[in-house]
Amino acid sequence: EPEVTQTPSHQVTQMGQEVILRCVPISNHLYFYWYRQILGQKVEFLVSFYNNEISEKSEIFDDQFSVERPDGSNFTLKIRSTKLEDSAMYFCASSEWTGDYNEQFFGPGTRLTVL
């Protein structure tokens, strides 16, 4: 069964460093998303991506964040200068266009720890 994969599973970084989180969505899916979950809090939407551009982004997704689909299979989230409060689980998701409604399928997540 096709699945969304994410690497690395755990990333530890120093505050101010750049990190790139990688995702391989399901191959025939057209819509891509990043969410994050800070420990003990709700899952929060960060950004959605379709047709090689951002469709929507949340207030969290400021100038320090960027997304890219560099090669037609990978979907990356870059945080340019990490802050302590960026520590969270980051989930990538993808969905196919099935009309008005579509389920999003999630990867296993990357745990980002900023020291």
Binding site: N102, G107, G109
Partner: protein, 115 residues
Amino acid sequence: DQQVKQNSPSLSVQEGRISILNCDYTNSMFDYFLWYKKYPAEGPTFLISISSIKDKNEDGRFTVFLNKSAKHLSLHIVPSQPGDSAVYFCAASRQNAGNNRKLIWGLGTSLAVNP
């Protein structure tokens, strides 16, 4: 942001009995609702969904009921099995101008099914 609320942080049921997980929402623009199951150290797994034009959707042991007037949905699991023990998230969405659908999440309910 309290648009999706799961007021019970935990629920414990006996194997073979019914599990009922509840979810309330405040945004009347939501038109699609999903339930996800999450095990520790894994990403959310899609379980079942319902669009706002329906009031019930069934898939095997899982049934979701939607009461639009009360802005309430529930997930019924019958019969409950020990393998159902996980955190269950309610999520809601509405279509935005970009045709993608960010998910707005509840805090989750941790279900324990006891043998």
